[in-house]
């Protein structure tokens, strides 16, 4: 019950969004988040969008991994 997954926002209507996890669509309540728009990624947890995924920070984290790899090419 407790697993949160990243989901893409397809459509926003009032306090609810239609979101996609891979090819499966779910409703996500937006009662806990503001300023969500189509194309955003949110963390879906028990039917609620609990936080937005920050694309800039996501890229930064991946860059860190690639830096480690550069240091240790073997």
């Amino acid at each position: 019950m407790c697993l949160g997954v990243p989901a893409r926002v397809i459509r926003v209507e009032d306090n609810e969004a239609l979101v996609a996890v891979g090819s499966v669509e779910y409703k996500a309540s937006l009662l806990l988040l503001e300023d969500i728009k189509e194309g955003d990624y949110i963390i879906l947890h028990a039917g609620f969008a609990i936080e937005k995924v920050d694309p800039v920070e996501a890229g930064e984290t991946l860059k860190l991994f690639l830096e480690i790899e550069k240091d240790f090419p073997e």
Partner: protein, 359 residues
């Protein structure tokens, strides 16, 4: 899938593993608090990619597992009231109570409905005004805001047949209780989605007062390996602090809207944890303004004396003192099909995870 596949890159995971092996010198124990982390560690066999110096312990972060026996017994008794509907998250129905479970009561004719979101519970109440709906509120900081938002919605819309049996819990007190209880730890892999709500600040005194390293981690294998690397770096440098690995979702302050909803609807209370007992200020109960949603105000039930399952070591497993194979019932009398203890029920439970990936 975006934000999933790129964090499962085998080569990158191996690279981080090599880096950990290179810098890890001290023998250390770190606890992953969240059941979601336990699942990912075993699913991707991350424990096999760490040096012998690092011991991973599983903690009390599965909400179904830590729900007390008496809480299950209470929900079971409510389910027997004529006209009652119990609207619950799915995992809870199979958790054995002292004498029964919600699943058994369902087969005895009680109206027990599995919901994915607490808002569905409210809709059931709205659609059945002559009936009564109780939602057993379980979970940590990730689910309590959803319950709070739903209670406020019920109040605003004058829905008077919806109730919340709250066993919501908060994370930092149990993390401190474990350490004070003598569980030897150097650091925590802290729960990513709890922290998305609370922000990283809730762990500050674990670092400053308890000298523990804390890294808030995402749930993909690369996230967890990087978090372990960050913990090892902190511990090797003897510089405990709170760091965020899961920066794409977590920041220092957290989700203010969710925090305000919880503060508005709930107040902290002492709470009973399975296997761990009563922990001061570790739970949430409805505050006076929302007391009308507490089923205890409206229905009288007699909850029989709690009987803990014999030979079950869930308590020590939830504290990270034992692992599932240490239990004589594990994979014998106790299996996911026929669970004796709560840790075998939920897919995020430590025993269920060990069972699934035991080979």
């Amino acid at each position: 899938m975006k934000y999933v596949d790129e964090y499962r890159d085998r080569e990158l995971i191996e690279t981080v593993s090599q880096e950990i092996k290179k810098i890890s010198k001290k023998n250390i124990s770190v606890m992953e608090v969240c059941g979601g982390h336990t699942m990912a560690i075993h699913r991707f066999a991350l424990n096999t990619m760490l040096p012998d110096t690092i011991r991973l312990l599983s903690g009390p972060g599965c909400p179904v597992c830590v729900s007390s026996q008496s809480f299950i017994d209470t929900a079971v008794e409510y389910s027997k009231i004529s006209g009652m509907i119990i609207a619950t998250y799915g995992d809870l129905i199979r958790v054995p109570g002292s004498h029964s479970s919600l699943e058994k009561e369902k087969s005895n004719g009680s109206d027990i409905r599995i919901i994915y979101s607490v808002l569905e519970g409210l809709e059931i109440a709205r659609a059945n005004p002559e009936r009564t709906v109780i939602f057993p509120g379980i979970g940590f900081e990730t689910t309590s805001p959803a319950t709070a938002a739903t209670v406020i919605k019920a109040k605003r819309e004058n829905i008077s047949n919806f109730f919340v049996l709250s066993a919501h819990k908060i994370m930092p007190p149990v993390m401190k209780a474990l350490v004070e209880d003598g569980v030897r730890l150097n650091g925590f892999i802290a729960p990513g989605h709890v922290s998305a709500i609370t922000g990283s600040v809730i762990y500050n005194d674990l670092a400053s007062r308890y000298g523990l390293s804390v890294v808030i981690s995402g749930f993909e294998p690369l996230d967890i390996m990087q978090s372990i690397l960050m913990l090892v770096r902190q511990i090797e440098a003897a510089h405990p602090q709170v760091e965020i690995q899961y920066k794409r979702v977590v920041n220092k302050e957290g989700n203010k809207i969710a925090q305000e909803l919880v503060n508005h609807v709930f107040r902290t209370c002492n709470d009973d944890w399975r296997g761990l007992g009563m922990i001061t200020s570790s739970g949430l109960s409805l505050c006076d303004e929302f007391a009308e949603f507490n089923p205890k105000r409206h229905f009288r039930i007699n909850v029989p004396e709690t009987i803990e399952p014999k030979g079950c070591i869930c308590g020590n497993i939830l504290r990270g003192m034992k692992t599932p194979p240490d239990c004589k019932n594990f994979a014998k009398e106790c299996t996911p099909m026929n669970p004796m203890g709560a840790c075998m029920v939920s897919s995020e439970g430590t025993c269920a995870t060990y069972y699934k990936y035991r080979n």
